[in-house]
Symmetry: C2
Subunit: 563 residues, 2 copies
């Protein structure tokens, strides 16, 4: 790959003809060089057929995002370079703006740059590396990439383009900026006519709004239009929601691409500059979470080449919501559920679960767990040494259910879905290898109070989830008459405290100062911190909030802080 | 906390009296501010009683290392500042060099610095922030810290000290340096008399040797003595091995502190400068791994306030080695094992396991799994739809064992130890929630071929592990006549390929070019990559190699690279 690292002055700078720019918002798969390339080449052809001058893809779109430690393999980088060569070969008559890694040519510093390329007429015309490398929450970019030291613009068909990668436009207008540099500030002396940003910006329920704020701040500061091209699709637990956008110099959203799906849209630059439109999409928290989880499920299965799911249906609200989301994502023919009543299950739990399965048109099996439960009690009698019923026996029931579900999973190829919510996962209210089992946690980033909102959203056009599953007091049904409220505060109290601790990183005193009971706050934080070992061993959690359990939240298992 | 950020010119620069320097190599616990402070204050008192002028602790020793996302809590930083204040108050007549975080006073950049402080006579005399922030493998420092922009030295009792933090002395002499800056180069114009480095440098079997090389390179380059103070102890999966060292200007190792244990040692600076000693410790790979795992086990239990372990003993070499290490770490009274034969277990498996338990003097119970296995086959008969015996039934057996072990764990408070080796974990040869269960993976970073070496090491003064457990062909005993070699290549072939892929990050062609069979290589890499979902849900793995599964190896679950 030969790159001309210096920016390139076009011949037709004065020829200010209208330019047509296509944004290709695509769903990539990490490491699927062939598939990612094929998609991009199709979009190049379509953009050409629409007479676009330029087509813009996403950040690291040759490799998929986030490629994580695959970036440490020379072989992986070689494959990205091959994709870039093929894109270059396809750039006859059309400019291609695409993100791909670049090998750092000097020995000092990290081995790679995270770059945006401009390809045109079978040449690499320009490359700009990323400067601001997000290294927080789910991001690890400084693990792999060296920040750019130089910042330039490039002239293409008479227009001067400022090309940036994702985070590089996020350091303006913040009260507490994360970085000391602002790449667009460095490019402005070259007087760009427009900004193009290639992104891999992940979803959370607040992020689409935050993102438009950032875009508006950039346009207000630099006074030129902004073409923002995001990726979409789920990558294990991380959802990319698309929502690419075009902003006019007046700060209005000229267009916003759809959330959660692929799209190719073309824009006449002159029309964008003229402005006068405001086409922002609605952003309802529960709708976004609902749609994000469905995409998360679809892509987890689709990208792994899988189709079928299984889950345990208890008659409670968590497994009910999970079953609905799975059915909407995978189709009723691909979802089966298992009802596994014990001696402690209420009779209407089974009825509620059956009613839901029937509403959804999914297969259900009923496998009572009393026989294996009795067998284990018998063979364990001696080693239990006559100690009374406690959490051990509760866990045995949960683990028997986990074993049954995994057996069906293994025999028939249905992936087990985890049905735990974020409130439970936070305080460790769940059994490792039991109800915490599963290949993917569907609602593990949804607090219980939001699970109720999701259920209401699902039922808004008629009852899908039986009202009784929603109305009855939450219970694990692992001992006679058990209720969640026996060992946990009400979720209306618990969830706000968890939110302050997990999302807001408030310490105990700061939470108490918000008016919560001191003893309760300390007890809850202690539960969160002493149960990290369970979360360490659970499935990836589809991320829908700014701070989900998993890759974006890294706390020690062994420690003595608030524990 | 008031800090004088500029370096401090002492009054007695000309008074070149002999200086006595104490290195305190301590085992800290993340977040245990009280405990960490207490340890340090005791060492300050001991150093004072030995007439030391200066006592040197480790990196971030107020908080413990690595504090991970706890650093994002203002409350956590406040507690670190309180510890630093108390240390400052104890610095009457003795200089204290200690690592602690510092709040970044300007809004731009990350919120914190990773700093080394010099406290003396109840004042913060000097602070130098860390510049090179390791962000690779297990390290995430750029997630939290802003790099230092200024580099200065400080005069203390007539000597000019260059204080650095860990990685800051690691960027010299490398062919491919990770960073573009070298902090010591920036300090040299101030002509320091000696270097002091506070570290939290983790163990792997090659690292003690690498570390001394780095120290020697620094002394050779700068020509002054080096006092290197490392921490020791395990923090969940990461082992800090100590091995603090003092190097004379001639490049000889004047002293090396013990591996894997706490120590306080005092040195006359004049003697160190004189040199003429070489006191490097022996570094045998298997001995180091053995000792590291024992420390890892001790601290996992000790720091969580736990005592007792349980594990399944199969009669094979992996569980045998794990049982020995656990017994050596926790004492025979705290380790119990369970033998869980099935219809597929060979009779001498039980005999070998019994013999080992008797050799170790640990409690064993025998709980055959045929009853629950039959029960599950009965209740699952209908949903299995008459499909033949396959991996499902193998997994049912493994999960029954997992359930039994967890029941004993829950009832009696024994933490379940995982017995999988690195070769198995790499290729996914194990059952999720079955033999992959457990709170801590003891030998999950030890390839099978090294497990044999560990067994030989354990038996070197007489048979502890029955020879038959070592000599017989490895088998999971989950179907009649099963052997590992039915589905895996010999470990002598498998392990080097895994090493090239995992530790060396070689791509398939590079491994094939080393002379390995192409089909085999591609099959093995595919097994590694398609089994990431299992490793995602397993226990933390005690890290003994430069690339362990877990926090230091971050690859996507959903991807299509070599899969």
């Amino acid at each position: 790959m030969t790159v001309k690292p210096e920016y390139h002055e076009g011949q037709d700078r004065q020829n200010k003809l209208c330019m047509k720019i296509a944004i290709a918002q695509l769903n990539y798969l990490v490491g699927d060089f062939e598939g990612n390339l094929k998609k991009m080449l199709e979009m190049v052809a379509r953009a050409k057929s629409e007479q676009a001058d330029l087509v813009v893809f996403g950040e690291l779109s040759t490799t998929g995002y986030p490629p994580r430690d695959f970036l440490e393999f020379r072989d992986f980088i070689r494959l990205a370079d091959e994709s870039l060569e093929q894109l270059t070969a396809a750039s006859d008559g059309i400019g291609i703006v695409v993100g791909s890694p670049t090998v750092n040519p000097v020995p000092e510093g990290k081995d790679l740059y995270n770059s945006v390329y401009l390809l045109y007429n079978r040449e690499v015309v320009f490359v700009q590396h990323k400067t601001l490398l997000p290294t927080y929450d789910i991001f690890d970019e400084y693990r792999y990439f060296e920040p750019a030291q130089t910042h330039h613009t490039v002239v293409f068909k008479g227009k001067r383009l400022a090309l940036t990668v994702c985070e590089d436009i996020w350091n303006v207008g913040n009260e507490i900026p994360l970085y000391t540099v602002c790449p667009m500030d460095k490019m402005m002396p070259e007087h760009p006519d427009l900004m193009i940003n290639v992104s891999a910006s992940p979803f959370d329920y607040k992020h689409a709004a935050d993102r438009l704020d950032v875009l508006r701040t950039n346009v207000a500061r630099y006074g030129v239009p902004l073409f923002y091209s995001n990726i979409c699709g789920a990558q294990t637990e991380i959802i990319f929601d698309g929502g690419s956008a075009v902003l006019s110099p007046d700060g209005a959203v000229y267009d916003e691409l759809p959330y959660f799906e692929e799209a190719l849209r073309c824009y006449q630059l002159d029309d964008v500059i003229k402005g006068g439109y405001q086409r922002e999409q609605e952003k309802d928290k529960i709708t976004l979470i609902h749609d994000a989880i469905i995409l998360g499920l679809k892509d987890y299965f689709g990208k792994l080449g899988l189709k079928k799911a299984v889950l345990g249906l208890s008659g409670g609200i968590d497994s009910a919501v999970t079953a609905v989301l799975a059915t909407r994502a995978l189709g009723p023919e691909n979802v089966r559920v298992v009802l596994m009543p014990s001696a402690f299950s209420s009779s209407h739990s089974v009825d509620d679960a059956k009613a839901l399965a029937e509403n959804l048109g999914i297969r259900y099996d009923i496998i009572p767990i009393s026989a294996p439960y009795d067998t284990f009690n018998t063979i364990l009698k001696e080693v239990m040494e006559g100690k009374p019923f406690d959490v051990t026996e509760e866990n045995i029931q949960a683990r028997i259910r986990g074993l049954i579900l995994m057996a069906i999973s293994n025999k028939h190829g249905n992936i087990l879905l985890n049905t735990s919510n974020k409130s439970e996962m936070a305080v460790g209210y769940g059994t490792l290898y039991g109800d915490l089992a599963g290949g993917l946690s569907v609602i593990g980033d949804v607090y219980k109070t939001d699970v109720y909102r999701l259920a209401a959203f699902i039922n808004k056009n008629g009852e899908v989830i039986p009202e009784n599953s929603i109305a009855k007091p939450p219970s694990a049904e692992l001992r006679p008459g058990q209720k969640d409220s026996d060992s946990l505060p009400d979720y209306d109290v618990l969830d706000p405290i968890l939110h302050l601790y997990i999302e807001e990183r408030f310490g105990p005193q700061e939470i108490i100062d918000k008016g919560y009971d001191e003893k309760l706050v300390r007890r809850i934080l202690r539960m969160v911190n002493t149960n990290e070992f369970k979360r360490h061993q659970t499935a990836p959690v589809i991320r829908v909030t700014p701070k989900a359990f998993g890759v974006g939240r890294r706390v020690p298992i062994v420690g003595r802080y608030l524990s």
